[in-house]
Structure formats: C-alpha cells, structure tokens
C-alpha cells in the first residue's frame, strides 16, 4: 500500500568542489569511501507515512544536517540510513552501487542513537573494549586511551559505568566512534546533555573525521559542532495532505 508522491522540493546543491580537493591532499589513514546517497525514499511508521520522495547525497568529507520539527522523521530517516528500518520505497546507494546487503552496509557506519548502549555493570574501559573487539576484532589499549582522552573520560576509565552521569554516559557513547574507524557517522542529536567542553571536543572529532574523508549525518537543532555542512529539511518531504487516506477513498 506504499504510494509514490513526487514532491516538488528543490533539489539539493551538489557537493562543493573545493571540499573534495581538500580531502585528496590530506590522505593519512583516510577512508577510500564513496558518495552515500538516497533517491525517492519513503517510510511508514505505525501505518503513518512519515516522509516520501526524499533524496539526499553526502560526499566523502561532507556533512549533512537534518532539520525539521519534532515528529517530522529525522530519527526515522537516520534509522533508515543505518538499515535498521526498511524503506517502503526508494533506494540508497554507496559509491553508486545500491545498498542491499544490510550487514555489509552496517559495517561501514557508526550510529549514535538517543540510547547510549552502555552497560552499567562494566567499567568504561570494558565497555569500549567490547565494542572495539566486536567491530575490529582486536583490542588495543592505546586506541581506547586516545578515544577516552578525546572526550576527557580517561580519569574515569576504571569506574563502573553505573556511577556516570547522563552527560558522561553520552560521552562514552560518542567515544565509541573513535575505537574503530568507519566512513559514515550517523548522529542523532549528539549535542544533548553535553557541556561546552564536550561540545568543542565533539566538533573537533567531527572535523577530524571529515578531514580523513569520512561522512557525517547529524540530526540536530543546534549545529554549532558542524560547520559548512549541507542542510536537509525533512519536514519538506512529509506528506502535505493525508494522501494515503483520501486517495483510497475516491
């Protein structure tokens, strides 16, 4: 019962040419990933058509900030991009090839959701070590230490996570991004519950990631920590009239 509504939303400006030139100069341990894009995406949540005809495109080194009022589908779009939620129509492409193997797609992205996925009974070190072992198959203390230092958690490394405050737990969730590199970062309102120092740390992390050729998609109201990123108003793609219902009635 999915229906195709081709809206007349303005097409997004293509990636700025100078950004990709900058990326090529700083190769380092950069990602050789390609463009991540989506065409004609529609998604239903609990019978409701959240958005339709949505298209996006992120180039290596680029950033995409998702805007839109609450309930317009920002989180749904992120979950769709991660492969957790299937789209009812449209398709996504990675470097031109359609994304159909969910596990392969998941292996090249990190998704920080509203929930921090932190085990209170484990220490910060054990939490991070688990995710590093899961994603990269090996555990290197130096990498974990660097990840903790990036978000100023190294002093608490031996503490069980249940003693952490909400902000510290959220920083631990963000630290996960550093333990195993992946080209695509999907961040769902990462700025919540963060103090100023952590916000600047987050901005630096994102800038470094983009400098290495990584891509970032952020759903957020404030976007102090992402400069020069493209914006996508998810609200523009939500169905204007209750199309599904009236369409069937006539």
């Amino acid at each position: 019962m999915s229906c195709e509504i081709n809206s007349t939303a303005p097409t997004l400006p293509l990636v700025a040419r100078f950004r990709s030139a900058m990326v090529r100069r700083m190769s380092g341990d950069g990602f050789t990933s390609g463009r991540f894009s989506g065409e004609g995406l529609a998604c239903r949540r609990g019978g409701r058509l959240v958005f339709a005809g949505l298209h996006f495109s992120v180039a290596p080194g680029g950033a995409l900030v998702l805007r839109g009022p609450n309930g317009s589908g920002k989180t749904t779009l992120l979950r769709l991009m991660s492969g957790l939620t299937p789209s009812s129509s449209g398709h996504m492409a990675w470097d031109g090839t359609p994304v159909d193997d969910r596990d392969a797609h998941a292996a090249r992205l990190r998704f920080v959701t509203h929930l921090d996925a932190v085990k209170p009974a484990l220490t910060i070190m054990e939490n991070l070590a688990f995710w590093m072992a899961l994603w990269s198959g090996k555990v290197e203390d130096t990498v974990i230490l660097k990840a903790m230092e990036a978000l100023d958690l190294q002093r608490l490394s031996a503490f069980p996570a249940r003693l952490l405050s909400a902000g510290q737990r959220h920083r631990l969730a963000l630290a996960r991004l550093m333990v195993a590199p992946a080209p695509l970062w999907l961040l769902d309102e990462p700025g919540n519950a963060l103090d100023d120092a952590s916000l600047t740390a987050l901005a630096k992390m994102i800038a470094d990631h983009r400098a290495r050729g990584g891509m970032v998609v952020v759903a957020s109201h404030g976007s102090a920590f992402v400069e020069g990123g493209m914006t996508l108003d998810v609200g523009a793609f939500s169905p204007k009239t209750p199309a599904h219902w009236s369409e069937e009635e006539e």
Binding site: M1, R44, R45, G46, G47, R48, P69, G71, S72, G235, A236, S238, P239, K240, T241, P242, H244, W245, E248, E249
Partner: protein, 246 residues
C-alpha cells in the same frame, strides 16, 4: 505489485465470491444436517454417537487447514510484505481457534461414552489441545503491541515457528501416547464405512464455505480498521508544508 496483494483488487474478488460462499454454506448445512442427524444409520459399533463424528472431523480438519493458511500467508507477508496476506492470516486465526475448540468439545462428548471420562489423553485429542494453545499464543502476541505492524510481523514469525513445531509435537505426543496407554481404543481405531461418507463430506464442505464467508467479512472489518487508524493518524500528524499551503 502482485495482483492479489493490492487490497482493492483482492476485495473486489472477495466481495464477488462472498454471495456464492454464503449461499453454498446455507445449502450444505440444510442438506447435510438432516442426513447427519436423521437419515444416516447409526454405527454398529458406537450407535448414535457416530453423529458427533460428523462435527468432530470437519472441525479438526478446519483447525489444521486454517493454521496451514495462516502459516502460508505469514510466510508471504514476511518475504514479500503483501499487506493482504497478513490480513488474511490475522483474520483467520479466531475462526481457526473456534474450529479447534469445537473439535475438542466434540471429541470429549464423543469420548465420554467410549472411555467413561470426558478427557483421556488420546494422542489426537492432546495434539489438538496443544494446537489450541498455539492459536491462543498467536492471537495474544498479535494484539500485544501498540503498533499494529509490530504485532503483524511478530505474529507472522510465530506462525512459522509454530508450523515447524506442530509436526514434531504431533509425533512426540503420539509416541508418548503409545508408551503410556496402549490399551484404550484411540480415535484411529474407528473405521469410516460408505454410509458415513456423504454426511461427512457435506459437513466438511459446509465448514469450509462457512470459513470462507466469515473470513471475507473479517477482512472487510480489518480493512475498515486500517482506514480508521490512518484517518485518526493523519489528523494527528503535523505536516508543516500542509499548514503553509492552507
């Protein structure tokens, strides 16, 4: 999308079939009941209780048949996301549960004169009882979620898991039954001779067309429920563009 998967297309066919199915049900019952109750002879072994069999066997057959329909439609829903396949499965479950319950009731009423008690752990009766629980589990899981689609998907997976386990349960119950009570004459020992075939087939036909008729009515109900949910949802949903447009 596949022709049958489109609801309006499917319902056009279903509504065309409905008068035939309902009419046939009435005719089959009108013809079958008098034969089953009055004109067909009593069985030399069990006397008049054979008439209970004309209800017990069709109910048992429909219970299993409807579960198979649920399993097949659940697979179609999970693999191809056919919305109609899901509706058929969810709409059929209560009817299947009623058939299974009637099979149990008739089995107990048939068993009392034979075994002296309403319930003897006869292999087929026990398997039917377990299938009844699986029906209850399917329906309970389907309605346990706020989001109806979550319920549909979970129930579909359970229907498939159940369809793999049912033969195993049947095998192990029958093996267990022979281990403990080889003595009582279980249902298998009852041979169906010629004179019983006509009432039996008439009643099975009546039960089948009854299921089809009720299923179509329930499908109409499910589609209406979906439309009501969407209408309610679209009133709630914000659509800034729409507000701008108005």
């Amino acid at each position: 999308m596949h022709k049958f998967a489109n609801p309006t297309q499917f319902m056009r066919i279903a509504n065309a079939i409905f008068p035939w199915a309902a009419g046939l049900t009435v005719i089959l019952f009108l013809v079958g009941l008098p034969i089953a109750l009055v004109t067909s002879p009593a069985d030399y072994q069990q006397g008049e209780t054979v008439r209970i069999f004309y209800l017990h066997v069709p109910a048992a057959y429909m219970g299993v048949m409807v579960y198979a329909i649920i399993a097949v439609n659940s697979a179609a829903y999970l693999i191809w996301r056919h919305p109609m396949a899901n509706l058929v499965a969810r709409a059929s479950a209560p009817v299947g549960a009623v058939f299974t319950a009637l099979c149990l009731i008739c089995g107990m009423l048939w068993g009392q004169p034979m075994w002296g008690t309403f319930w003897a752990w006869d292999a087929r009766l026990t398997s039917t009882l377990i299938m009844f629980f699986i029906y209850l589990g399917y329906m309970a899981l389907g309605d346990a979620f706020e989001d109806p689609e979550r319920g549909d998907r979970a129930a579909a997976i359970l229907a498939l898991v159940g369809s793999i386990n049912l033969p195993i349960i049947k095998f192990s119950v029958e093996w267990w039954n022979t281990l403990h009570q080889p003595s009582i004459t279980s249902m298998q020992g009852f041979s169906v001779d010629g004179s019983m075939l006509t009432p039996l087939f008439l009643m099975m036909g009546a039960y089948t067309t009854f299921y089809i008729s009720v299923l179509i009515l329930r499908l109409r109900g499910e589609l209406l429920a979906a439309k009501i949910r969407n209408a309610r949802m679209s009133q709630v949903a914000i659509s800034p563009a729409a507000q701008l447009a108005e």
